[in-house]
Symmetry: C2
Subunit: 224 residues, 2 copies
Amino acid sequence: MKDEVRLIEVKEGILSENDRLADELRSELSGKGTFLLNLMASPGAGKTSLVLRTIEGLRDEYRIGVIEADIDSMVDSEKVADVGIPAVQLRTGGFCHLDASMVRQGLDALDVDALDCIIIENVGNLVCPAEFDTGAMKKAMILSVPEGDDKPHKYPLIFTVCDVLVVNKTDYMPLSDFNVESLKERVLTLNPKMEILELSCRTAEGMDGWLRWLKKQIDAVEKP
Amino acid sequence: MKDEVRLIEVKEGILSENDRLADELRSELSGKGTFLLNLMASPGAGKTSLVLRTIEGLRDEYRIGVIEADIDSMVDSEKVADVGIPAVQLRTGGFCHLDASMVRQGLDALDVDALDCIIIENVGNLVCPAEFDTGAMKKAMILSVPEGDDKPHKYPLIFTVCDVLVVNKTDYMPLSDFNVESLKERVLTLNPKMEILELSCRTAEGMDGWLRWLKKQIDAVEKP
């Protein structure tokens, strides 16, 4: 019991300092006309695949940059750099989420003024990333079909804080008992404003809906 | 920078106190002849399915109990209780992992002397659960095929600390580019002692190997 109290106190202190930093970041980016997206999901849900498909779909219209977070590898940022997009890898060295100060370091390593949209690929985790404001204007999450439709019951916070839910790996649907209607009902109960989009990064089916959503967000940030 | 240092200090204090509690738990359980397993995985990798299949396979030979951890639901413990097995639900209320003091509370709610094997289903997360000793005698993890074979690069700690890796959802293999040989190579580089078992909880294919491994562990704990 004593341990629990101690942990919460520290966390609250960190969270309020983080909120201040995140607000600072957000208004700085607004001033530059750069949209920042925080993309969250479980390990293996398809974050990097969605980032790569997004680059493919929007690179002719927008200048895109990517901040990749990982506990201990460079795998994802190398995939992004391979397609010629500016990428920064944040190695969190054990931290299971990104916070605003880590994102600040990532932004400092990018030429933000030359970018219309920066995507943060958060650490693969449905728990802690949901608690930390990174300074992003919008929060997106992916739930992949093989993970199951019961996740809103089990990780409610992330479904509550996000603006859009991408249901990925719809190509696995025939092998799965995933019920999209039950999922939608659960998600909308937690978060009536959530936009829910279904797609498959592998086959690219449904990508148009996601690109449309993202373009709308990027265009909503006024250029200075 | 200041934030990071502060967080690590607290974490270290908590971790060393946790290690003491975990050792205490472990020797207490050894004295009672009860085997305790810590089962970890991403959200949706199949932890509850493996628990249910294990109960099905071993309930005639062993007295099994289950400690379920969840941020905010009772879904999993109800599934276990439905099949007539003693189950405790630990609602972590935001904590993304279990520690030894939480497991202690779970054990206190079970009749430990009347059990041969207790399975802890940890919070769905590949990061933090790996850092906390729960007092279990062995640590098992699941990686499901749809998550991809690159996970050892990205979450190395959990692959380093576990005794056995269950590759679940092998029935998804035909739809996936998952390479079991690459996975094994990556895992064994991190942890040469890891046992790697392939199975599908849905079809039950490969369950015999897992049950054999688990029986060996339960039988290794001497009855008082």
